[in-house]
Symmetry: C2
Subunit: 339 residues, 2 copies
């Protein structure tokens, strides 16, 4: 254990240590409304300690995907961000168009055409009380970083499929907290950790009445033997952007291709969808991530292999997210890079 | 609306803007294990954006009071911090003694003998997934700042008393989340905001069965007409450090002074403790903060005035917290200031 008597650091020492601590985290650009500009040095990508995001969880976030120089589904994600901010009662000055400019500007400053995008609206710095009244200025932060597979998946999506377990010890969030996409994610983290402990990956939450809810940061979907795509309603769980696109694609392309007969978003008892009652099960989120579930609580799902629906949806989502196909043409924002 | 096309900032610009944004926030010293030292410039008091505290709520905190150069009840608070960290499954290398050294060292570097103290154990920086496996190093942060009255109280404690309301629209946290003192405080914030909207101050949470739970960041206590101090059990609410000291003082000093006949920590129906069924009601937290409640849902509590128990407890807590009396002699840590 190193000596714990702390010494006071000078400004150059602070900067030097910030730089020394950073490896190559792949953080390409960060916008901060607090600073009024973009930072490209990962060492400086920080948030004031007294921002209520940090110590009170008074901040909301969303994501999107930068693919081939286009911001995929940014409109959809920003609609949800603004809804989250409203439910969290964060007063801020930004319209959706303002937010688009800040995100697209950060992407342009990153100088990459492919990356992950995450952004937050917070009540901002101002003190350590629970009251946002002490915060004079809401903040918007946005970061562009190298895409990294979600924790728990050994390789990219679909390559192997995953095993899942029902989470038993971690409680579900109350519906209000589950529907606001905030940084109050401790229960999501504990859901994931418990799942890993039990031999699963992200974990499946089932409510007290036996209905399937969601995974730690992903929505859950099932394909029945009758080729119906089933997923739970959004009451009390996250309004997933990816699962909504999956439902759209299932109802259009996959129906035309005879892979899907119907889409049904209604409450699902876990007992209705185990083992060979279904042919496929998968989790999805983060625009392009779709994880086929090969077993659930050690019972093989369908044939215990990646099924044709998961395979086809992954192709479609990846093609859209990487800019190879147009997807929903209203939901792409072109980034204007400097020459 | 200012121009939203962000520009890239140089390092000197970042530092200049950080300093310009800071007024006189009264932040005296911040320790960061990430940096391995103490910062005294408020502009530099920041947390890496990718610390899971910031974006996943994977961090726990606690407080204490620096009074006349002593850290009041630090032992008690650190016991709770370590319990919170364990429940939140944060792996870290620190013993209680290590934490005492870091907090006391930060206090010494602050060069003040009176202040508020807050500190966090977090999973640390490492990426944006929910998994702590990507975080190589847990972090400890500690800040010493000028004591500020809790939001919602116009002046210091006890001077006027407060009005309170039952919170109706904000849900309670699930018990696990309520017992871990983490930064997942969005529901606490919304409890406070709803209370203010309804003419209250911090808000009183009552569970579905009608039992009193807690306030937004404070415990609740009642004095019955028979001089019994009643407060709810800690199941499903925060294990309050201040209410525990209040119960100790009620059972000792206040009993000797005939202000209290008994102390009873058991479930309390809200219907049992309204209006003239009780003589006093108060909220307490933050070591020395005790807020007499003069009315609850517009019904005067007792005589609608500050009662003798609240008055006496405030005297005792303030005398302990400011180092005038010894309180529990085992629970003071002397700060060793440089000469």
């Amino acid at each position: 254990m190193k000596d714990l008597k702390p010494r006071v650091l000078s400004e150059p020492e602070v900067l030097e240590r910030l730089k020394t601590k950073r490896g190559q985290p792949g953080y390409l650009a960060m916008f901060s409304s607090w600073l009024g500009g973009v930072i490209t040095d990962p060492a400086l990508m920080q948030i004031p300690l007294d921002d209520h995001l940090v110590h009170r969880g008074h901040g909301v976030f969303d994501t999107c995907t930068l693919g081939d120089g286009k911001l995929y589904r940014l409109n959809t994600h920003l609609d949800r961000l603004l809804r989250s901010a409203s439910l969290a009662r964060i007063e801020h000055p930004w319209t959706k168009n303002d937010l688009i400019k800040m995100v697209a500007g950060t992407a342009a400053a990153s100088n990459v055409r492919d990356g992950s995008v995450r952004y937050w609206i917070t009540t901002g710095p101002g003190g350590f009380s629970p009251s946002p009244k002490e915060c004079p200025e809401a903040c918007f932060y946005c970061v562009i970083f190298d895409p990294i597979p979600l924790a728990g998946s050994k390789s990219g999506p679909l390559s192997e499929g995953i095993n899942e377990v029902t989470v038993l010890d971690t409680p579900m969030k109350p519906p209000l907290l589950a529907t606001i996409k905030s940084n109050n994610y401790l229960l999501n983290v504990l859901t994931h950790m418990e799942a890993v402990d039990r031999g699963g990956t992200f974990g499946i939450l089932v409510d007290d009445l036996g209905y399937v809810a969601e995974s730690c940061v992903l929505n859950v979907a099932f394909i029945t033997q009758e080729k119906v795509l089933r997923t739970p309603p959004f009451e009390g769980i996250l309004l997933g952007a990816t699962i909504r696109r999956v439902m759209d694609l299932a109802a259009s392309t996959l129906s035309e291709e005879n892979l899907i007969s119907d889409v049904d978003q209604s409450p699902i008892l876990a007992s209705e969808v185990s083992g060979d009652q279904i042919s496929e099960m998968f989790l999805c989120g983060g625009d392009t991530h779709l994880y086929p579930v090969l077993s659930w609580d050690k019972i093989p799902v369908g044939q215990g292999k990646i099924g044709p629906v998961a395979k086809r949806l992954t192709e479609l989502l990846e093609a859209e997210g990487t800019g190879q196909t147009s997807g929903d043409p209203d939901d792409f924002i072109d980034v204007l890079y400097d020459q």
